[in-house]
Amino acid sequence: MSDVRESALPAQSPPVERAETAKVDAPAKLSWWRGDGGEGVKRNLGLLATLVVLVVIGILTRPDLYGDPNWVWGNTLTILKLASVVGVVTVGMTFVIIGGGIDLSVGAIVALAGVWCTTVATQSYGAGGMIFTALTVGLAVGVVNGLLVSYGRLVPFIATLAMLVAARGLAAEISDKQTQVSGNTFINGIASTNVLGIPLLVYILVAVVAAGWVLLNRTTFGRRTVAVGGNPEAARLAGINVRRHTVLLYALSGLCCGIAAVMLTAQATSAQAAMANLYELDAIAAAIIGGTLLSGGRGTIIGSLLGVIIFSTITNLFAINNLSAEAQNMVKGGIIVAAVLVQQVQFGSLTQFLARNRATTT
């Protein structure tokens, strides 16, 4: 999408005002960022560089800990483990955002699915019943979201905001506001089991990310998602059932929340209505710094994954240096802004914006 816009623009802008456009186009450095095809890869390289910087800061501030290779390996796995739940949620969120929507209800769905799968009644069906319940609840809530957005024609922001409130309310109702402890050793074992030295949670994350990548990049479903998000009208005229596709996207996000609920319940060995607090913001932030366009039509799964890992690494960095959570939130906010600013420069939105401004003023 963006390629089209960028190639179209220079053709239009020169006649407007030669001197000004020359200045706008001046930063030649930008051009290799804009190289055709490699955009996603290059943006991800930027995220990787950020990760390296964070690790270097860690090494400089705590050389005693980083001197021990065992600790470094264990710490890396811990970072990935802590990233796993939000990571799975973010995969679903990335699809919804690429498809032109937003899902504010993900944290609430995780809590609802977690609470529902740990009720006394559900636990009596064993691990299979609990997992089935969590996935079904997640999927069902996602479908309701999708129906409200596509057939109910509610703005995604409002539909999922309503679902956020309602799902947390239902979770509180079901749990009677109590913490529900999971007595199921299989479920609890999901968070404490290592396979070949790597936690099971990390495998789940990798599996979901891989599935998401294939779905987005190698199937018609993925291509349609990009088309629907980029220009729904064009997608509809091209014969895509936009409404049905939207329902599927929210259902996918709900399903991811169901998976995340099982993982989070396993980690905490319990569930409560207040859990997964503000996960929607973590997931949206990770998708955004991963290069997903909030208006839809563009985004990568790998970028989102790197975004989640960056946040998880920051949390870890602040923990090992005993710094306060307030400072951590400030840094997170700064990184989100910085990432979006960098993207704007990369994709010429800024130059477009400037050129358009000049065009309208003259």
Partner: protein, 350 residues
């Protein structure tokens, strides 16, 4: 996406209605069969005060429960009121914030209760309501979150946050001294950082540790929820490869902390909890986790507040005290529960 709009409202209604009713239906089917938290009531006794007296209508308001402790507060108040024949409880849920609680309280006032028991969202924000009710001649029993103005309440009963920190630090320091640890690594997992109660608890903890020459090596705040407890503890374990003791402020988030302990396979330290949940007491009694003690901040104070409100309504004093009226302020001591006394406290667990 451009279809005629004429049938939309009906569609929306259909979908909305279907969604809501499906949710309610399903919730009903798989609802929790767990028995409600056993209430901490005390009505039986031999004192003259337990004799049924003048009928008292008590208005009660506490914030909507978002975690186990607040839920226990409301349950206890209801159960204690039910234990008296001469008490009628009018309970209004206080909603999500101070403004909602103020609105709820004005409906409560119109029902003309004899006494009001109030756990405010924020003592400072609802101070004015306390003053107003007192002026209107309705005595107010201020539960836990204190009104700054002494004229805003007839009686105040609350927990001791600073004392909780003191109790936790004393237990940890004494244990480490017996073990002969000279330079211990101590971790702390507080609840929500921005709350005054969290800051008081941490101050009591740090002050008392300092008197032993110890200090907190790392603090990782959680949010009183199980998953945040698990994440905070995981961060703490990464930062401190070897720990001697940990104080976790809240037993509810402690479920997550203990999960993290198992997942990280760390057993080298002792842990002290906070508040005093039933699960924590059972774990302490079983003595098979790192959790060796918890310092109380008991929701039983809600039961006591109802008893006090009844006495105030009947114009009686506390029978074991000499005074003819109920005292103005009662601060509960934060007690330390260990393996030795866990069975005594189990009935107070929530």
């Amino acid at each position: 996406m451009r279809t005629p709009r004429h049938d939309l409202s009906r569609r929306r209604l259909l979908f909305g209605g279907a969604a809501v009713s499906a949710g309610v239906l399903l919730a009903g089917c798989t609802s929790n069969e767990q028995s409600p938290t056993e209430a901490q009531t005390k009505a039986a006794g031999s004192g003259a005060n337990t004799e049924p007296g003048k009928k008292v209508t008590i208005g009660f308001s506490a914030p909507a429960a978002d975690h186990g402790w607040i839920a226990a507060i409301t349950n206890n108040a209801k159960a204690q009121a039910g234990a008296y024949q001469d008490v009628e409880l009018k309970s209004v849920e206080a909603g999500a914030d101070a403004a909602a609680q103020r609105a709820a309280l004005s409906t409560l006032i119109s029902q003309k209760p004899d006494v009001i028991v109030l756990l405010p969202h924020d003592g400072k924000e609802l101070n004015a309501f306390g003053l107003e009710a007192m002026k209107a001649g309705i005595p107010v029993v201020n539960l836990d979150r204190a009104f700054p103005d002494a004229r805003a309440y007839r009686c105040q009963i609350k927990g001791d946050n600073y004392g909780m920190g003191v109790a936790a630090a004393t237990y940890i320091a004494e244990q480490l001294k017996t073990k002969g640890v000279s330079n211990p690594v101590i971790g702390e997992i507080p609840g929500i950082e921005s709350l005054e109660l969290t800051q008081e608890r941490s101050k009591g903890f740090a002050d008392t540790l300092a008197s032993y020459g110890f200090k907190v090596a790392n603090r990782r705040p959680a949010e009183f929820t199980v998953d945040s407890g698990q994440q905070a503890a995981t961060g703490l374990f990464q930062a401190l490869p070897k720990i001697d003791a940990v104080w976790n402020h809240d037993d509810d988030q402690g479920i997550g902390v203990l999960a993290a302990v198992n997942q990280a396979n760390r057993k080298e330290f002792i842990m002290v909890g906070g508040a005093g949940s039933k699960k924590a007491m059972e774990d302490i009694a079983a003595d098979n986790t790192v959790l060796k003690a918890t310092v109380t901040y008991s929701p039983s104070m809600a039961s006591s507040a109802i008893s006090l409100a009844r006495l105030i309504g009947q114009g009686k004093g506390m029978s074991d005290l000499v005074e003819l009226q109920v005292p103005k302020e009662i601060v509960l001591a934060s007690e330390t529960i260990t393996k030795e006394n866990a069975s005594d406290y189990l009935k107070l667990g929530f």
